[in-house]
């Protein structure tokens, strides 16, 4: 536990000692605002809710989270510090959770900076607090899932560009899996019905929707938990076999 925190602290400090953190936060907030107000038509709905805000999160994260996750292991591999880290008395699990936690906390921090959004909504009307809380919670879970996935692709390579592109594609699949164009394509390819349903069940949007409405379903929590744990375990296997 202590080692996990030491590694997480080092990783967090490295975000803020380089421009990465600041560039990320500024772009994240700018895009969030742009999508919510200009594309989402926040005012057009004429209701005090954050629906037009949360709906963009899976899409924005798809591009931005891999930018945070791509350096997790690729950078260590390229710099040779992987050798340093894994010859210290640190277990693989401690290293992986430490780095993941650092990235997740950072994303959580960026998410907290969007608090003016709900404050605005409270100022304009009388919104439901429940959906806002579950929406934020779901958004944080999505960020964690994407981060674990991009950490996994980062462990495969020393090239951050490859890591970025691969994880964007995987995240894109998770977003699109439930959309009719994808499901009908699968059906056209002759996939069995249960397979199509399975693919649709993998969709982030599908699991995030109920959370935006204020419903906290155990199945959704299991979904995010499973995906994240799976990605972290795969990272461990990759790092064990490819040094």
């Amino acid at each position: 536990m202590r080692n996990t925190w030491i590694i997480a602290k080092r990783e967090l400090a490295s975000y803020f000692s380089s421009p990465v953190a600041y560039v990320f936060i500024v772009i994240f907030l700018l895009l969030m605002g742009f999508f919510t107000f200009m594309m989402g038509g926040f005012f057009r709905y004429n209701e005090a809710s954050l629906l037009s805000f949360f709906v963009w999160h899976p899409w924005l994260y798809m591009l931005l989270v891999p930018a945070v996750g791509m350096r997790l292991w690729a950078e260590e591999r390229r710099m040779g510090t992987l050798e340093l880290l894994f010859t210290m008395p640190v277990t693989l699990a401690q290293a992986i959770t430490g780095k993941f936690l650092a990235g997740w906390l950072f994303l959580g921090f960026a998410l907290l900076l969007t608090l003016p959004m709900p404050i605005t909504v409270f100022y304009l009307g009388e919104p439901d607090l429940g959906p806002m809380l579950t929406g934020y919670f779901g958004s944080f879970l999505i960020a964690g899932t994407y981060l674990a996935i991009s950490g996994m692709t980062s462990a495969c390579t020393r090239n951050q560009v490859i890591s970025f592109i691969t994880s964007v594609v995987i995240c894109l699949f998770l977003v699109l899996a439930g959309y009719p164009p994808v499901t009908s394509l699968l059906l056209k390819w002759g996939a069995a019905n249960w397979l199509v349903e399975f693919a649709a069940g993998l969709s982030i949007i599908f699991h995030f929707e109920s959370m935006q409405r204020g419903v906290l379903d155990l199945r959704d929590l299991i979904y995010f938990g499973t995906l994240t744990t799976f990605a972290l375990f795969t990272t461990a296997i990759i790092l064990r076999n490819r040094r």
Partner: protein, 337 residues
């Protein structure tokens, strides 16, 4: 001799680093082939070999970074694969090319490694300060690591390896990238620490072996081709035992004839001729009987009343031996294929 007695008195821990039949396959290529050696407390083992011989691969297996394909490694009694954490807390490691986190400054980096090594509070600060002083990093302690010169970077990474005062040090090319003064200092440091630690140093600089090592192993194409002390290595040299003498006012022919009568003397050769003095090398014939030739030559010179101003026995050259052992082996292996 005295030092050895003192060390024995303190009860030397033998086999601090122990490699038994270590093997490493990279796909179909055998990078390390059944290598065995041992390093005890108070020993500095020089790990020699040409580039690409498998030195760094072996170091990476010793430190638990690479898994073994066969054999067994124990560090301070802990199997590196079965008890990695216990084994890893026994040593400090300086990897090849001295990697360090580029986005931290020297002091932050050392504090981080100290924390991972289990130090905290005042003990951590002390360890960091001591390492900074030992490695002369005071001037750059707040400098970002990616702006350090190669020498400073190397010493920062070395500081990381010694800061928790481990009983075992594993150093991959510790003097790489240092200037001659720093090299000298680094060697003194290693030699001093070698008195009560078990140290393994990989290098391809042979003068380093002379300067700091108590034992030497040579690896070539993944196989162990020599295991002994630097003196034993030198003795394997073709020129070891050769008597070199500088004589005044005598012709080489006369010396040649006179030497032919000596037992165990080979055919002498004229190495140089300068202002009436000639330097003659007299090789030994039977390499098993090394002693006595110099004395015999001296008696001969005295009996003939030839004036000489230099007479010594060549103790052999490490680089000759290194070249002979490694190139011979490579040639044989290529012939096999």
């Amino acid at each position: 001799m005295l030092r050895r007695l003192i060390v024995v008195h303190k009860e030397v821990e033998t086999g601090m680093i122990k490699a038994e039949n270590v093997q490493k396959w990279f796909g179909p290529n055998l990078a390390v082939d059944r290598v065995s050696f041992e390093v005890s407390q108070g020993e500095v083992l020089g790990f020699l070999g040409p580039n690409g011989a498998g030195k760094s691969t072996t170091m990476r297996m010793l430190t638990g970074f690479l898994p073994l394909s066969g054999g067994k490694i124990t560090i301070g009694g802990h199997n590196i694969e079965e008890e990695p954490i216990a084994a890893k807390s026994m040593f400090g490691y300086l990897p090849e090319n001295a990697p360090a986190y580029a986005d931290m400054n020297v002091q932050q980096f050392l504090a981080f490694t100290a924390a991972v090594r289990g130090l905290s509070g005042a003990a951590k600060d002390d360890a960091v300060e001591k390492a900074i002083a030992t490695c002369h990093l005071g001037r750059v302690r707040r400098q970002s690591i990616d702006t350090l010169s190669k020498g400073y970077l190397h010493r920062t990474c070395f500081a990381q390896a010694i800061l928790h005062d481990p009983p075992i040090l594993i150093l991959d090319e510790p003097t790489d990238g240092l200037d001659p003064n720093q090299k000298h200092e680094m060697r003194e440091l290693i030699k001093n620490m070698g008195k009560d630690k078990a140290i393994i140093v990989s290098t391809h600089i042979l003068e380093e072996v002379e300067a700091i090592c108590t034992h030497v192993i040579i690896i070539d194409q993944g196989r162990l081709v020599f295991n002994g002390t630097p003196a034993e290595m030198r003795a394997k040299s073709a020129t070891a035992g050769t008597v070199v003498v500088r004589i005044r006012g005598v012709a080489f022919i006369d010396v040649e004839q006179a030497v032919a009568s000596l037992p165990n003397a080979g055919k002498p050769s004229l190495t140089s001729k300068h202002e009436g003095a000639i330097t003659v090398s007299i090789p030994i014939q039977d390499s098993k009987k090394k002693d006595g030739l110099a004395a015999a030559v001296k008696t001969l010179l005295d009996s003939r009343n030839w004036a000489f101003d230099e007479l010594h026995t060549d103790s052999g050259r490490l680089d000759d031996v290194f070249r002979a052992i490694t190139s011979l082996d490579s040639a044989k292996k290529e012939a096999d294929q």
